[in-house]
Subunit: 110 residues, 2 copies
């Protein structure tokens, strides 16, 4: 799996409008297992986005989807900047489909 954790800032006063566009643009994205947008309670303009994809290719392909392109175009004027962008390798967890397997080393077994 391929994951992203990012923090971005909206133009002041436009955070909820930006959140709306992010949700609108993420309706049907093949390979997307999780896409969650969140407010930062410590900063009135900041948004956290956490994503899990089956693989990096799915994520890249999503950026070319018409609905995503349209949402990006409308969102751009509402974005003040990006603070952080981290790639992760999601292993498993609650809220993800049970795909693949993760076998922890024997040392952690009971």
């Amino acid at each position: 799996m391929y994951g992203l954790i990012g923090r971005m800032r909206a133009v002041p006063g436009q955070r909820d409008a930006l959140l709306g566009l992010q949700l609108e643009g993420s309706g049907d994205m093949p390979g997307c297992l999780s896409y969650i947008v969140a407010r930062d309670p410590a900063d009135a303009d900041a948004i956290w986005v956490t994503e899990v994809w089956t693989d990096e290719a799915s994520h890249k392909a999503s950026l070319a989807l018409p609905a995503v392109q349209a949402a990006i175009a409308r969102a751009r004027p509402l974005i003040a900047g990006f603070d952080s962008h981290t790639v992760t390798e999601p292993v498993a967890g609650i809220g993800l489909p049970k795909i693949g397997t993760f076998s922890p080393p024997l040392a952690s077994g009971s």
Copy 2:
């Protein structure tokens, strides 16, 4: 909703063992909507944990669950430290149950 994004480091060589314990301890946690553990591809010892709960109380209550307590006790010797711990307010997204509603401001409507 109540969210957490955290980065922690395992004792060198123990990351997968720690991931296993984290998944083992998160089997049945009331109020947990998403709990995803991920490797950091840029650091062989680092783990990202992203969580979404119905509310903060559910998260706090989970820490008292016997299975969680047992996993924490076994995980502690494998943890080298915590790098960051951020509270978020998840709004909605793919991979979350459709609870509550989010109505973006009219400005973002089509």
